[in-house]
Symmetry: C2
Subunit: 309 residues, 2 copies
């Protein structure tokens, strides 16, 4: 249990930011592939007996995601399973998620669980335990987690603790890629800044004591690639944070839109693409694994090229 | 799957707000008990063989929560399982959560899943499916869900859809009960309002077309009981919303602090208490079920009394 592991302040693995930077430089890749399994989009051969129910669907999700992991592994530094899709299948879905995360880690990839969790007090601690602290077998479910910021510093503190003690990372929601982001994040404050700009400065503070040997903090930020102006501004406000940039591909942004994000180092930003990679096979007749691998390879080269490293 | 169920716009059950209002008036209770299972706080007799691992711990959580459900059922209108604690146990934990939710619904209680989910596009849809749409057996996991608001209207829309089609409810995070709430929620906007007050007005809009026969909307709001000033102001900004008020008990607020929340009707606010009820046995020598039942009975009377109905 978490309590025992926190008895002494020992870091069991290197800082997340350093592990990521090492992987980026070794693989010359800043690409993260999102795993968003959806039954009606899976190749027929993978669906199997999914019509029989949830347990079979969960097994199909695991088969598909593990196949994608193998196909994209040479071209990406991390995978980003989207927890929601697994949750639709209850306990069976979570078991499938664990299998996929374990497989990705076994083939040498980092795992960023996209769950956007956020709560207070003992509940926030429980989320940190669920995603970032060692389980019975000594490994955490994920290396990093996306987290909500609306509840403020005490909702983040348990995750920071996991970063300090277990070499975990977090990506805080700052400016998202969707149309509704304007409703709250783009409101103008009395000092003239936008809400998301203020949140960015909070994130910079939270990550100040988690800067690793490569100069990057294990406290990163989610900034939508669909708003290039915001990407540049976020880079300025968060000089040491790794920016996780969703929105390239299916949501319409291009790697060129995010070039400015990489000015703090080759590993200072990560481009995530999900449906455009994992369902690439739907655009043609090729094998689903081969199609995902090709698209990941193409995108990895394009991103590396615009990053200027 | 959800897609089939949405082919025609049929509501399979009454609106959440009406179901809740009926329960409040019938039971003369505005109390919701939070289910926050934590191994080290469970009665020894319930822990069983939990030392053997996660699966056994999950069974202990289910035993404990189902026992609490039975003990408090006469005094509460709903239970609020805190999903984080179940997630610490992976697939076994989610299976336990399903068992607890099903049991609560079987004994006639409403279930408010406290998960604070929020994401965009197909991911938001998946969360709505996971928590609020009918599963294979035709019932949803929960009647209502707490949701994040930072991502704006399109992150909420799939949940509103579940309210319209399946009689579900949501509680949107507006002003939370923790110290860090000031970091973002209390920022002053250029028009002089606080961020949370703006969010409250958004929530009022989102719920406008989901007002039921009793005059209350199925789109509610989470407002911390620890800030009595905010409770009164939220009531004014959200005249038709059911306010979910955490913070009474272990977090220090009293029922008197939230009396103003009930001015829109007996069911227009719900007081939630978690640890002070479910772990009431730790304050004395009594049976854990009896202690939880007594504390729930006491709190229900106190809340009903201050509500003025």
């Amino acid at each position: 249990m978490a309590q025992d592991l926190e008895a002494g302040p020992r870091v069991t693995t290197a800082a997340f930011a350093d592990r990521l930077a090492e992987a980026v430089e070794r693989k010359r890749s800043q690409l993260v592939v999102g795993l968003d399994p959806s039954l009606e989009l899976l190749p027929l051969e993978v669906r199997g007996e999914s019509i029989l129910g949830r347990a079979e669907t969960a097994r199909a999700y695991a088969r598909f995601c593990c196949g994608i992991v193998d196909a994209v592994a040479p071209y990406v530094v991390a995978v980003k399973p989207q927890v929601a899709f697994f949750e639709t299948l209850g306990g069976d879905g979570l078991t499938a998620l664990e299998r996929v995360c374990d497989h990705a880690r076994n083939v040498g990839l980092l795992v960023i669980a996209d769950a956007k969790r956020g709560d207070i007090g003992s509940t926030a601690r429980a989320y940190a335990t669920a995603f970032l602290e060692p389980r019975e077998d000594g490994t955490p479910l994920a290396d990093a987690l996306t987290v909500s910021t609306y509840l403020g510093h005490d909702s983040i503190e348990p995750f920071l603790q996991a970063c300090r003690l277990h070499g975990a990372g977090i990506f805080c929601l700052v400016r998202t890629s969707n149309a509704g982001a304007g409703d709250v994040q783009e409101l103008t404050l009395s000092d003239g800044r936008r809400v998301w700009q203020h949140v960015a400065s909070l994130v910079d503070d939270w990550g100040a004591d988690l800067v690793g040997e490569r100069g990057l903090s294990s406290v990163g930020a989610v900034v939508g690639a669909t708003v290039p102006r915001a990407v540049g501004e976020a880079r300025r406000l968060l000089p040491r944070s790794i920016l996780l940039l969703p929105g390239v591909g299916a949501q319409g942004a291009t790697p060129a839109d995010v070039a400015r994000a990489f000015t703090s180092g080759p590993a200072s930003a990560l481009v995530t693409a999900s449906r455009s990679v994992i369902y690439a096979y739907r655009g043609g007749q090729s094998d689903w694994r081969a199609a995902a691998g090709s698209e990941a390879a193409r995108l990895r080269s394009e991103v590396w090229s615009v990053s200027g490293w």
